[in-house]
C-alpha cells in the first residue's frame, strides 16, 4: 500500500476497526515511513484534544429542577390511563376506521342496488297495473317483486285485491309470445 491508502485508513487503524492482515501491513508501512508516522501522530494529538473536554453533567440541584420543569412542560390533561388506553387501541384504530368506512360504503351501495329507487318502484307497479296480464296470480306478483328486490306488503295486498277483481284477458298467450321481455314472459308462462 502507498502512503495515500495508508493515510486514508489511519482513522480506522486508530479506532481499532481494521482486521488482522490490514493491521499488519499498516504497521509494516508505518515502521518505515516518517510521513505516515507524522500523520498518525497528528491524528493521535487530535483525539487527545477531544478528550480534554471535561464531561458535562447537571449539578444535583439542577437535576431535580430539570425533572420538575419537564413535568411542567408536559400537558397535564394527558393522564397515564389515557396513554395506556391509547397504546392498547393504537394498533386497532388505524385499521378500524378504514374498515368501517369500507363497510359503510359497501352497505350503502348494497342497499342502493337491492332496493329499487322510487322511480323503479313506480315503474314496477305501473307495469303490473297496466299489464294486460293482470289476471295472474298473486304468487307471480309476489315472485316478481321479490326477484326485483322489492317486497312491499301494502302494495302486494293492493295488487292482489285489484287482480282478484279483474276478468281474465283473452289472447294472453299470443301477447306473451310477442313480448320481448324474456325473463318476465318466461315467468308468466310458467304461471299459466
Amino acid at each position: 500500500m502507498n502512503c495515500a491508502k495508508i493515510q486514508a485508513k489511519l482513522l480506522e487503524y486508530l479506532t481499532g476497526e481494521l482486521k488482522g492482515n490490514l493491521i499488519r501491513s499498516m504497521e509494516d508501512h508505518l515502521n518505515t515511513c516518517p510521513a505516515c508516522q507524522k500523520e498518525l501522530m497528528g491524528l493521535k494529538k487530535t483525539f487527545w484534544l477531544f478528550n480534554q473536554l471535561p464531561p458535562i453533567e447537571l449539578p444535583p440541584e439542577q437535576a431535580e429542577k430539570f425533572l420538575l420543569e419537564v413535568r411542567q412542560k408536559i400537558r397535564p390533561q394527558i393522564r397515564p390511563r389515557r396513554i395506556a388506553l391509547r397504546h392498547q387501541w393504537n394498533w386497532l384504530l388505524p385499521r378500524l376506521v378504514p374498515a368501517l368506512t369500507v363497510g359503510l360504503i359497501l352497505i350503502f351501495f348494497g342497499l342502493w342496488k337491492l332496493k329499487p329507487t322510487d322511480k323503479k318502484y313506480a315503474e314496477l307497479a305501473a307495469d303490473v297495473f297496466t299489464s294486460p296480464y293482470r289476471s295472474l296470480s298473486s304468487e307471480f306478483i309476489y315472485d316478481y317483486f321479490v326477484t326485483n328486490g322489492t317486497l312491499d306488503l301494502d302494495l302486494l295486498s293492493n295488487i292482489e285485491n285489484y287482480l282478484n277483481s279483474q276478468q281474465e284477458i283473452p289472447g294472453l298467450v299470443e301477447d306473451l309470445n310477442n313480448d320481448e321481455r324474456t325473463e318476465l314472459v318466461q315467468k308468466i308462462k310458467e304461471m299459466l
Binding site: K45, Q52, V70, P80
Partner: protein, 180 residues
Amino acid sequence: MPEDHELVKRFQNGEEGCFDELVKKYQNKIYALAYRMVHNSEDAWDLAQDTFVHAYHGLAKFKEKSTFYTWLYRICINLCINFIRLRRTKSPPQTNESIVMNTPARNTPESDFYQSVLKTALATAIGQLPEKQRAVFLLRQYEGLKNEEIAKVVGCSVGAVKTHYFYAIKRLRNLLQDWV
C-alpha cells in the same frame, strides 16, 4: 435500576413514575449531547427538556424496534438540528474571529486559561461542522455509540456514518491545527 424496556412497558401500562426514572437516568447524557450540539447552556437546557417532553408524548407509540436510548438520542439530535437551522436563519454562524472574542480574560490562572481557551476552540470547531457530521462525531466521540446505533439515531446507513465521521475528524483536525 430496572431495564429501559421494562420501564417503558410499565409506563405504557399506566405507571407514570417510570417516566421519571427514565428522565433521571438519561437527563445528563441528553443535556450533554444538546450542549455539545448547540454550545449554549440555556438552549441545551430547553432542548434537553423538549426531548423528554417529545419522548413522553411519543412513548405510547414506541414499539422497541430500536433501543429506548437510541430513540431518545434521535429525538434530541433532530430537535438540535432544527434549532441550529432556525438559529442560522436568524443570525449568521460564528466565524473564526469569534474564537478570539470568546476567549476568557487574561487574568485567569494559566492552566484554567489554557483549558478554557481549548474548550472554546474545540466547541467552536465542532460548531463549524455540518449538523449531521457534528451529530455523528459527538455520538461516537462523547456518547460512545457504535456505528450501527448512530445510523439509527441519525437516520442514515452505517457506511454514511463512517463517511461523516471521517470527514468530521478531517475537518476538525484542520480547524484545530494550531493545537496539534
